[in-house]
């Protein structure tokens, strides 16, 4: 009893000290860092990029995961386990590994270019990762590849809690697959959908591994994310920890606002 009860507050204190990291400015400069934040073109660009990833990637991935889960929930479907395993498999790779694979596939002399040249679609290789738009698309594709199966698992678990007879009844009443999806699946899965949306949003706002390894923020900082900007500020350029901490808090505030908004929206519906 004593061990657990003593160990436990101590350990909690330790945990808090690790996680609540404060502003950490050595010199007190007041809000000048924050003023600087709104005039910093790189910061604004990085936030814009993250929002672009967010707006495109999260809905596409979650919708895909939902569709896959509802197909795989069909009791009559064959090879269900096999499909599920294959689609879930990318989750077992390190983010760095998946980033490397996609970087190689889409490099100038990479597989995709070679194939497209062979098929005669292109006359000369296209530098995917040097194009501001395509570089973003490839990052989105890589993230979607890595995380769709992960989200699908959540939906499958959620679908298992829905009584299968509801679907059978709906079918007898002549409901189409689409209206079954919108009238039964979506409302009943709402809590899970909110959960995955929050998790994905959180993950995308903190995006780092993929971008660092696929494009390293390039071309010309066109794919830079806020996390990578913090990393660059602290460890690549001459260290400016104070300002980096300011940017960090900006991410924190964004995550908090978006999570709060999503929970509110979820409650209302």
């Amino acid at each position: 009893m004593i061990v657990v009860l003593n160990f436990y507050p101590m350990f909690q204190g330790f945990l808090m000290s690790l996680q609540s990291g404060s502003g950490n400015n050595l010199k007190f400069t007041g809000i000048s860092n924050y003023r600087r934040l709104f005039q910093d073109p790189l910061f604004i660009k990085s936030v814009g990029n993250v929002l672009i990833y967010l707006v495109f990637q999260v809905p596409i991935m979650l919708l895909l995961a939902l569709i896959l889960a509802s197909i795989l929930n069909d009791k009559k479907l064959r090879f269900k386990g096999l499909f599920r395993t294959i689609i879930f498999l990318p989750c077992a790779t390190a983010l760095v590994s998946s980033a490397m694979i996609f970087r190689s596939l889409f490099s100038v002399d990479g597989f995709v270019n070679t194939m497209l040249l062979h098929l005669g679609v292109f006359q000369e290789p296209f530098a995917w990762l040097s194009d501001p738009t395509w570089a973003k698309v490839i990052i989105v594709v890589a993230i979607t590849w890595r995380w769709t199966g992960y989200n699908m698992i959540f939906y499958l678990a959620g679908l298992q809690n829905i009584n299968y007879e509801i679907y059978e009844a709906a079918r007898i009443d002549g409901a189409s697959a689409f209206s079954q999806f919108t009238k039964i699946t979506l409302p009943l899965l709402k809590p899970v959908i909110i959960l995955t949306t929050i998790m994905s949003t959180n993950g995308t706002l903190q995006l780092f591994d993929e971008v660092k390894n696929i494009t390293n923020g390039g071309p010309a900082m066109e794919t830079l994310t806020t996390s990578q900007y913090i990393y660059n500020l602290s460890f690549v350029y001459s260290p400016r920890f104070g300002y980096a901490a300011t940017v960090s808090y900006a991410i924190f505030i964004m995550v908090a606002i978006l999570a709060f908004a999503q929970i509110k929206v979820g409650e209302k519906k």
Partner: protein, 272 residues
């Protein structure tokens, strides 16, 4: 007519599933095949297994400290996982078994900390660790991820199914609190421990940003860092890059295939 619609429906379902499956498996296939080919073959678009695997292994070992990085990853991930399990299972157990209002509030606070982005704490953490001379050390690697709110919550949720009467009767029988935890709780909760272990191990193995900051020396390099270092040069040798990626991916993929059920449990973890 109805039958026809069903057939069409099924056809589309399977076609969709097969296309998605191909998409998710192709990068793996390409990775493994490329590890056995020369960079020139890979660039030329070769998609069959080549004879160049051993050559690639030799080159890779010559250019980087593969063994060292693999060992570091294995060591860090294993010890980190064990430490996490000890700390978080005790905390989760404590939260559930000695439950009161204060602890419930504390748990909610902990859950809020899950929302704090790592980027926010990264810089202060780094400064703390460098003052404490923990850079490039095992402790430095595992400490920030030893206790995670997710894992504590996971253990707490699963402890709900643990019969509290057992604890009471063990106390009557004169078993100490720690003894109860060790001799009764741990064996009964073995599946929970296994699921937590798998997920934590994978997270530790794959972790990148934090090691990138604290494990700066060659000596303490981990697999993800090694891979990311391979592209630093001008031209990339895809053969050895993909070999390194394969080496880094194999342990987790094997874990995935052998322990898939537990992995799923671990991922879903706290959602119950």
């Amino acid at each position: 007519m109805k039958y026809k619609i069903n057939v069409m429906n099924n056809f589309f379902k399977y076609a969709f599933l097969i296309i998605v499956s191909l998409f998710s498996i192709f990068p793996f296939y390409w990775m493994i095949v490329s590890a056995t080919n020369t960079s020139i073959d890979i660039v030329a678009g070769k998609l069959s297994v080549g004879m160049y695997l051993i050559e690639n292994v030799k080159t890779l070992i010559k250019t980087v400290h593969l063994g060292n990085a693999f060992w570091n990853s294995l060591k860090n991930a294993t010890i980190g996982t064990l430490a996490s399990l000890v700390v978080c299972s005790m905390a989760g157990y404590g939260f559930q078994i000695y439950r009161d209002k204060g602890k419930d509030n504390l748990m909610n606070l902990l859950l809020l900390s899950m929302m704090v982005p790592f980027a926010t704490t990264m810089v202060p953490l780094f400064r703390m660790f460098s003052t404490a001379h923990l850079l490039n050390t095992l402790t430095g690697f595992i400490l920030p991820s030893v206790s995670t709110a997710f894992l504590i919550f996971f253990f707490r949720q699963n402890s709900k199914s643990f019969p509290i009467e057992v604890v009471h009767s063990a106390r009557v029988d004169g078993l100490g609190e720690f003894g109860i935890f060790l001799k009764i709780y741990v064996p009964i909760m073995a599946p929970t421990f296994a699921a937590a272990a798998i997920v934590t191990f994978m997270n530790n193995w794959n972790s990148y940003l934090w090691p990138l900051i604290v494990m700066q020396s060659q000596q303490s390099q981990t697999m993800p860092l090694l891979i990311s270092g391979l592209i630093a040069g001008y031209t990339t040798n895809y053969g050895i890059l993909m070999l390194a990626v394969t080496v880094c991916t194999l342990p987790t993929v094997i874990l995935f295939f052998t322990q898939q059920k537990r992995f799923v449990e671990g991922v879903l973890g706290a959602v119950k």
